[in-house]
Symmetry: C2
Subunit: 240 residues, 2 copies
DNA sequence: ATAATAGTGTCTCTAAGACATTATATT
DNA sequence: AATATAATGTCTTAGAGACACTATTAT
């Protein structure tokens, strides 16, 4: 059995420079829904490698920093956004994925209400596959042209969409993409946008209300030209 | 837009030693089911740090090696097993998870038919939570004593169990834990063991047969003292 | 024949989809 | 009043659970 003194002795003779080590980065797919379209934040690379290509916000991981902290730092620095839903996605480690040297990317995805972002660098995501097949996706500019993505970021983004679609089937996670209070219609629109298919309204209502994760506020939306819907909010209960 | 010559120029002046980098390891939770019990392969650490504690087989990632290759190498070296189902689980990166230096662990889980392993170091897994709640799990020796696990390996193993339970709800992934040909009863036993709860026999049969992932072989088991059941095998179709 | 499990048929119950109806806001 | 959408009620349908019944092997 290990003792503290044995470990201390070991640590004094341990040389961390003994082995070559890969670099470790985090990259974040920051997703949002606006105008009935799934969008992602991408930034144009100004420096080599792959200058001119578009990439997910990312950064190298500091030596004393947790992976999630690094991801939040990348979001704060490059997307100027904090306090968002953030979850680890997958770690991409193909030996040749970055031309500089071996760079692993611990990918995260984040969800945020579009209202909290300046929409400058939000681009439309085009998903060329059905359901949860998976595979790379495209990011398109306002003119409909596909933007060239850096490294394997099309794969990372594709996996983020796949994960999100999967979660949506048994979690009302869509409220992460809406303001604090929202109508069921808004929530359904978000789900339909992400899933890429229409949902049954009655069944959607029943499932959401039965999930126990939504709470009626008693208030109603306004500034609509028809009967206003009730506003709901998320109850911070255990997520299954 | 990036050009090949710009990238080449950049690479010539790039110094990969400029930044401190964490070490990167892979750890593999090799799971199996035998005697109606979920088991995992753990090895006793012989060297500091944490000598005497038990750990999942792992290794540092080589500079030119993919993460999955590293995981398979760890399995071949420490568990003497190849050709198993292997899937990435999660990357553990708490700054203090390893006392030596910053070490990230890209965790994998693997599934294998117990018949293909020498059972020497297979230990029983005790899951102290219900359903897909999650959290650390225990590994117990033959005498029922819990083994002390190294680092955060109880967390890693707990996440492997959680992932496996989740997959089982919509995938007949249990056949990865059985010989090539198996009866539906064996498959149900595996599912029940992993889920930790009994399943409805009729409904299980219907779901499995309807999944399209099983194929009847026309053959039957033998050496049983009652009516023999038909043997099925996995059809290597698209996994949803 | 008896014991034991495999495999099938059918009834019930629950949840999703479809559709009709009522309610409540704006113009 | 006309219009538009919210919200509810009910019928139908598909799948899960429950259970009874038949089938097939060994002893």
């Amino acid at each position: 059995m290990s003792t503290a003194s044995e470990d201390r002795e070991f640590l004094e003779t341990y040389d961390p420079a003994e082995f070559d080590r890969p670099s470790v980065a985090v990259d974040v797919a920051l997703l949002t829904v606006s105008d009935g379209v799934l969008r992602v934040l991408v930034v144009e690379r100004e420096e080599a490698p792959q200058a001119g290509r578009w990439s997910l916000p990312g950064t190298f991981v500091g030596m004393a920093e947790s992976l999630e902290d690094a991801a939040r730092r990348a979001l704060a620095t490059k997307a100027h956004v904090a306090d968002v839903f953030l979850e680890q996605l997958y770690t991409f480690g193909a030996p040749d994925r970055d031309p500089r040297t071996r760079v692993l990317s611990v990918a995260y995805y984040a969800l945020v209400d579009a209202g909290r972002l300046s929409s400058a660098e939000l681009r439309r995501v085009r998903v060329p596959w059905e359901g949860e097949e998976g595979g790379p996706v495209e990011v398109v500019a306002a003119d409909g042209e596909a933007l060239p993505l850096a490294f394997d970021h099309a794969e990372i983004l594709g996996m983020a969409v796949k994960r999100l679609r999967g979660k949506l089937d048994y979690t009302p996670i869509g409220f992460q993409l809406l303001p604090e209070r929202f109508t069921l219609r808004q929530l359904q629109d978000v789900h339909e946008t992400i899933l890429g298919r229409p949902l049954n309204k009655d069944s959607f209502r029943r499932r959401m209300l039965a999930s126990g994760q939504l709470e009626a506020t008693g208030e109603r939306e306004d500034e609509v030209e028809h009967r206003p819907a009730e506003l709901f909010c998320f109850t911070h209960r255990s997520a299954l």
